[in-house]
């Protein structure tokens, strides 16, 4: 009798505990922000991603494509460490390492590390499947990596590894993950910090990034996601004056495949296309593929 009780309690607990794959997020796997999330049962997690970006083209203010310049291909190695401070929240430290390749030449260096956090305001629940998981997202990305504005290789731009500006960001992420059909949406606002270059103060514009994600869980350990991002940048200001035609608009699309190997490890493959469709303005078009391995402990 006692064994039956234990078995029933265990079974009920298991059924009421959402699958880790149910606890996703709309902006994860979108190729833009936190590369991973920690589930409530995870204390620490490591992420290692290998990516390649190519096919760069510039899209001007009139939407016309032209030569992007700089490296023809970028190889990205991303390492992230996540640590939870409660079942609802965690921090992630992300460090990218970038190798730029152009013809027979290449240069490699660290990119801009970032520190981000997520806190689940509303937990998802199997007994209230209509209630989304709601997370508040915040973060800081440093701007110490060499950029277009302080490059020492102005002809090839091979030593450009970052944007040149630190930024802070905050946003919300909604996620429905209790049925086989998955969906979510996220909105993040980034505020780049002003910085002086060559005696002038540069202030990139506020960035608004919206993500919509749809997915399907084929099995308890396999899910597929497709989604799109809309990213809009307000005009760049140089010495307090708005640079003409400097506002940016870009639409990207992504496909992500997640496979949990066991309760602790997951593989992820993401294909993404910047400048995928729509009225793109002052932005870059490129294609990326990323393979990632995540392990919690």
């Amino acid at each position: 009798m006692k064994l039956w009780r234990i078995t029933l309690i265990s079974l009920a607990s298991w059924m009421l505990t959402p699958s880790p794959l149910a606890l996703g997020c709309a902006s994860c796997g979108s190729g833009g922000d936190d590369p991973m999330i920690l589930y409530p049962n995870e204390r620490e997690k490591l992420y290692m991603g290998l990516g390649s970006v190519a096919g760069f083209r510039n899209i001007g203010p009139d939407g016309a494509p032209s030569t992007a310049g700089g490296p023809a291909r970028k190889y990205l190695t991303t390492v992230a460490y996540g640590h939870s401070f409660s079942p609802r929240g965690f921090f992630t430290l992300t460090v990218p390492y970038v190798r730029n390749v152009r013809d027979d030449a290449s240069r490699a260096s660290w990119g801009d590390p970032s520190l981000s956090g997520r806190y689940t305001l509303i937990m998802t629940s199997i007994v209230e499947p209509w209630k989304p998981q709601v997370q508040i997202v915040g973060g800081y990305k440093s701007g110490f990596a060499r950029s277009l504005r302080n490059t020492e290789e102005p002809k090839t731009l091979l030593d450009v590894f970052g944007s040149g500006f630190a930024e802070t960001r905050v946003g919300l992420d909604l996620w429905y993950g209790q049925s086989s059909l998955l969906m979510g949406a996220a909105h993040l606002v980034s505020y780049p910090l002003a910085r002086d270059y060559d005696g002038s103060t540069y202030q990139p514009g506020l960035t608004q990034r919206s993500t919509v994600t749809l997915g399907y869980r084929w099995a308890p350990h396999i899910k597929s996601l497709i989604g799109t991002n809309r990213e809009a940048h307000a005009p760049l200001r140089i010495a307090h004056d708005a640079a003409p035609d400097s506002d940016q608009l870009n639409y990207s699309a992504f496909v992500t495949q997640d496979v949990m190997l066991d309760q602790l490890t997951m593989l992820r493959l993401t294909l993404s296309q910047q400048g995928a469709y729509g009225p793109i303005r002052n932005a870059a078009r490129s294609s990326a593929v990323t393979a990632a391995y995540m392990v919690s402990f």
Partner: protein, 106 residues
């Protein structure tokens, strides 16, 4: 501020990114007459929408013999395509002035 010069700018070759290109720059009076004495000529490509310049180490500005106020600008190198400005600074009769012309680079 009174303008002390106008210019004409003629590309020798199509403007293509990551390829050295050249042009002929001619200084004129604001009313379109030939200028005899132009000094301290500087040419700086600038991408207004991105807020950056370009690689200029190979750039040369050479007076054209027999053509007062005319210069050949060679070694212009645009690091990327898109809308650029060619910012021109020069001194005429001891007065420095500047202007910008637009260029679309493929």
């Amino acid at each position: 501020m009174q303008k002390v010069f106008a210019t004409t700018w003629a590309w020798d070759t199509p403007t293509k990114a990551e390829t050295p290109v050249s042009a002929t720059l001619t200084f004129l009076t604001p009313t379109g007459n030939t200028l005899q004495s132009v000094t301290d000529v500087e040419v700086s490509p600038w991408m207004p929408s991105m807020g950056h310049g370009t690689y200029t180490d190979d750039q040369e500005i050479t007076p054209l013999p027999g053509r007062p106020g005319a210069f050949r600008v060679s070694g212009l190198y645009f690091i990327m395509g898109g809308p650029w400005e060619i910012r021109i600074t020069a001194t005429v009769n001891g007065i420095q002035d500047r202007l910008a012309i637009k260029a679309t680079v493929q």
